[in-house]
């Protein structure tokens, strides 16, 4: 056998890593067909590459790290939202704290007295949930668990150490298919968020977090079904239906017909165990 005098050498890395165009790949294949040494080298490199590369099903981001990251980003946002005087106060020497406090008080008074310049109130959950829905509809919402299995998603939330049990609704009978979920934050609380795709490409989002209904702003509409109280809010074209299951608040959000969202909530809400 006449082995080629020139071998592929470092170009073999391009073969291993699928970096060659059609013409180059054909040249490499042609060489490999007649060169036992390069075939042997390619097998060795692929063995190493295979031992290092992540495998399908390999563990992703640990859920606890995901929660910690969201909390850290929340803290960053809160710090950015604080008035500059409050952010810098930690660097003020102790003897100057009284003066700084006076300045803060003066600035706060100015804000209150200055028409149209009131302090930014924390976003109510209804608006925050609406933003989550918008992000989902616009494909901007990262789903750390993508699955069509309700049980798998429940296991994911169970492993996420949220501090409460997350019930994932099976809406298959209503032709809503689960797409996946993520651990999120609503204000200062971790939340379990999951999403559905329904008839005519309808989108539905469910979010759960620890809280009480009386923490919500007054609702323009309320309803009661099977002894469960519901609060219905509108945010633009969206309808958000809230109810409580023990110390967990559940909300369904969608831009489909309001009565359809309410019917889905009626169908799936359950009294606290």
């Amino acid at each position: 056998v006449n082995a080629p005098a020139v071998h592929l050498g470092e170009r073999l890395q391009d073969v291993v890593d699928n970096r060659l165009g059609a013409a180059e790949l054909e040249q490499a294949r042609s060489h490999l067909a007649g060169c036992a040494r390069c075939r042997r080298e390619l097998a060795a490199l692929r063995r190493v590459r295979g031992a290092l590369a992540p495998r399908p099903g390999q563990a992703g981001l640990p859920p606890a790290l995901g929660v910690a990251l969201m909390q850290a980003l929340d803290r960053e946002d809160a710090a950015a939202q604080a008035p500059p005087s409050r952010r810098r106060i930690g660097t003020v020497a102790a003897w100057g704290w009284a003066l700084a406090a006076c300045l803060v008080a003066a600035m706060a008074s100015a804000l209150l007295l200055w028409p149209g310049r009131t302090a930014v109130a924390p976003q109510p959950w209804t608006a925050a949930v609406a933003r989550e829905f918008d992000a989902y509809r616009d494909a901007r919402l990262p789903l750390s668990m993508k699955t069509g299995e309700v049980a798998e998603l429940e296991r994911f939330f169970s492993a996420s150490d949220l501090g409460f049990h997350t019930r994932v609704f099976d809406l298959g009978m209503m032709n809503y298919r689960i797409e996946g979920g993520a651990v999120r934050r609503l204000g200062d609380r971790p939340s379990a968020l999951y999403v559905y795709r329904g008839p005519d490409d309808a989108r539905l989002l469910c979010e759960m977090f620890q809280g009480r209904l009386d923490e919500l702003p007054p609702a323009p509409r309320t309803a009661s079904h099977n002894g469960i109280d519901f609060r219905i809010y509108r945010e633009g074209a969206l309808t958000a239906v809230y109810w409580a299951e023990g110390d967990v608040i559940c909300v369904l959000v969608s831009d489909i017909d309001s009565e359809a969202v309410l019917a889905l909530a009626f169908a799936k809400a359950a009294p606290a165990a």
């Binding site: 970096r19 590369a53 992540p54 563990a59 640990p62 980003l73 933003r131 992000a135 990262p142």
Partner: protein, 199 residues
């Protein structure tokens, strides 16, 4: 009020953009962080520090450019400035000896040594490969970490390592040969060798 509202909305948009662009890359960052630190808690801290630094500087990131290379560059910077001492230093593996081992195998007829099936759920790697990787000189280890573990392209890895694409290829070539040579050595040490396809 309008000013305050716009500012809050800007922050919400920034947060949403960051989550949409950066969060999908976190598993790859975390895998690489695990290999860099070899400690689950340190890896989590490294990923969190990286994300926070990236989030603070997100305004400086140009949309449409390569966020993967940007994030990995930040992670290596954070690692080099705050985590390096926590990691066991390289023992200075004899690359030449391992490359010679590889060349001997190349000239023979032995089958490649088998690698162990890792525990995917535990994010584990064949311990012999991990040990060999750990002993590679830094520049070579980084090339393997970025391309094979982090799944960056050569171009992205070149950006992170601040070198030419050809250098990435060259380092990968030598590093992979050495890793294979290390596997051969371990196989011989443990008396396991497959010759001619038979164990």
């Amino acid at each position: 009020m309008l000013v305050a509202h716009a500012s809050a909305r800007d922050r919400a948009d920034r947060r949403a953009r960051f989550e949409a662009e950066a969060l999908p890359l976190l598993p790859a960052l975390h895998r690489t962080a695990l290999r860099l630190t070899r400690d689950a808690q340190l890896a989590a801290d490294l990923v969190q520090d990286t994300c926070l630094r990236a989030y603070r500087a997100f305004e400086q990131f140009t949309a449409g450019t390569n966020i993967r290379a940007w994030l990995f560059s930040i992670m290596y910077s954070v690692f080099n400035t705050g985590y390096r001492k926590a990691r066991r230093e390289s023992t200075g593996m004899q690359m030449a000896a391992l490359e010679a081992e590889y060349e001997r195998w190349l000239g023979g007829a032995d089958e490649p040594p088998a690698t162990q099936s890792p525990d995917a759920a535990a994010d584990a790697m064949d311990p012999r490969v991990e040990r060999a990787l750990d002993e590679l000189p830094e520049a070579f280890r980084n090339a393997v970490m970025l391309v094979d573990v982090g799944e960056l392209s050569y171009e992205e890895a070149a950006t992170v390592m601040n070198c030419a694409v050809g250098t990435v290829r060259s380092r990968l070539s030598r590093a992979r040969k050495c890793l294979f040579g290390a596997l051969l050595t371990y196989a011989r040490e443990t008396g396991y060798r497959r010759i001619g396809g038979r164990a």
